[in-house]
């Protein structure tokens, strides 16, 4: 019973997702069909400053983008922990509060380390 009511609540969302994907897909395909398509090699070349692209795009890029991603994963996980904690703080009381503070404290140490090491500096 419990499971059924939960799932029924999500049924409109499922239908909504299907409809939304359908509409936006239909818009793209409709435009492809309706509009006159006249591809030619120059038009279809990658956008550049008037010359052909020298090489494939997917080479090296700045390592700081990786750093940001890693930081994001750490802090996003932290937020994922914070949500249930925030809801149940009344029940878990002081013990819950200090447990989370210990967790945040450890994370903060890591954060300070990154900050001082310059992982957050661009240029």
């Amino acid at each position: 019973m419990f499971n059924e009511t939960i799932l029924i609540e999500y049924l409109p969302i499922l239908i909504f997702i299907v409809l939304a994907l359908g509409i936006s897909g239909a818009a793209v395909i409709g435009s492809l069909l309706v509009a006159k398509q006249k591809p030619d090699p120059d038009k279809n070349a990658a956008y550049e400053c008037g010359f052909d692209a020298f090489s494939d795009t997917r080479g090296k890029f700045d390592v700081r983008f990786y750093l940001v991603t890693l930081l994001f994963i750490i802090f996003d996980l932290e937020i994922a922990f914070l949500f249930p904690w925030a809801i149940s703080l009344k029940d878990i009381g002081m013990f819950g509060f200090w447990s989370m503070m210990a967790f945040l404290g450890v994370l903060t140490v890591g954060f300070i380390y990154e900050w001082k090491k310059g992982a957050l500096d661009w240029e």
Binding site: E9, Y10, P12, I13, I15, F16, I17, L19, A20, L21, I23, S24, A27, V28, G30, S31, L32, V34, A35, K36, Q37, P39, P41, K43, N44, A45, A46, Y47, E48, A53, D56, T57, R58, F61, D62, F65, V68, T69, F72, F75, D76, I79, L82, F83, A86, I87, L89, K90, G93, M94, F97, M100, M101, L104, F111, W115, L120, D121, W122, E123
Partner: protein
């Protein structure tokens, strides 16, 4: 199963479909006239008139734009990963639509009143990054690639502080359900305490939507439009629509979290006769106006400033605020 029950179920289903279609049409109209409003507001702020030619006061301009974009040729670069290239705008736009499923625009006027509404909203808005990364990667063009990376890091950076702000709010309201968040009692001291978070949230949603002054991913002067550089016709239009739909969504989210959703402002009960959806719309429009206002007045940030603001100012501030909120609520035994 009796006939009555079948009819009942059919009606429920039809009502649901109707609701979805109303939502989609509403969002599309909203987006269309947000673009119009943007041009008008920007025009007014620069002492111009904005679009005036198509229809009375240019009111049909968005429709004309839509028809134009629909009937243009879709250029698919020969180097691109075609399926991913076409899928990216579809996903981005669909995501901007489906997030609306949980937003209560009036009392009990919500498509799916799920108990973890805010989590759903947060999850869907984070998925937007995928659309951008897909677009940047699939285009296989340097500008697009760089724009996609920049945009993704930027959104991801500000999502962290947004998440922490949401934690502050749910600490105060004690529920993940958006209706309950709106209806939760908010004493004055709590509103004052949350006000700085509202400001940070407003700035974060600017960055999250890649809007000026944080519109570096587009950065016409350096990367000529960012991840959208290879897109044309309807695929471009979907990005455009998605961006504006996201703006409206984020404004609605801010309204729901901080401004009391469909309730009359400042607890003015004598205004109760006005339908809730009007209040909801007005509040959302106020925040949307803030979006346009920021675009008209502020110069673009540099990328290092943007990252500094996100990681070195907003993140510590919001983290402190979470700790402070939890500590205060515990200390005064005011947890909901």
């Amino acid at each position: 199963m009796s006939i009555d029950r079948e009819i009942e179920m059919f009606l429920a289903f039809a009502w649901m479909l109707g609701h979805i279609i109303v939502l989609i049409v509403g969002v599309l109209l909203g987006v269309a006239y947000l673009t119009y409003a943007e041009r008008k507001v920007l025009g007014a702020m620069q002492r111009r008139q904005g679009p005036m030619t198509v229809g009375p006061w240019g009111l049909l301009q968005p429709i004309a734009d839509g028809v134009k974009l629909f009937s243009k040729e879709t250029i698919i670069p020969s180097q691109a990963n075609k399926i991913v290239f076409l899928l990216a705008p579809v996903i981005l736009f669909a995501l901007a639509l489906v997030a609306w499923a949980v937003i209560p625009v009036d009392k009990d006027w919500v498509l799916a009143n799920i108990n973890v509404g805010i989590l759903y909203l947060f999850a869907i808005s984070s998925l937007g990054v995928y659309g951008i990364i897909m677009a940047g990667w699939a285009s296989n063009s340097r500008y697009a690639f760089l724009g996609g990376l920049r945009s993704a890091s930027q959104m991801v950076s500000y999502e962290v502080s947004m998440g922490l702000i949401i934690v502050c709010v749910i600490l105060c309201t004690g529920s993940l359900n958006l209706q309950e968040i709106v209806l939760a009692p908010r004493p004055i001291w709590m509103q004052i305490w949350l006000f700085p978070m509202f400001i940070v949230f407003l700035i974060s949603i600017l960055a999250e939507c890649n809007r000026a002054p944080f519109d570096l991913p587009e950065g016409e002067s350096e990367i000529t439009g960012g991840f959208m550089v290879e897109y044309s016709a309807m695929t471009f239009a979907l990005f455009f629509l998605g961006e504006y739909a996201n703006m409206i969504l984020m404004s609605a989210m801010a309204t729901t979290l901080f401004l009391g959703g469909w309730l009359p402002p400042f607890g003015m009960w004598f205004l109760d006769f006005v339908p809730g959806i009007v209040w909801f719309g007005l509040k959302t429009c106020a925040i949307l106006f803030f979006f346009l206002w920021a675009r008209a007045t502020l110069p673009r940030f540099r990328y290092d400033q943007l990252m500094r603001l996100g990681w070195k100012i907003f993140l510590p501030l919001t983290l402190l605020w979470v700790v402070g909120t939890a500590g205060l609520l515990l200390a005064f035994d005011a947890l909901p």
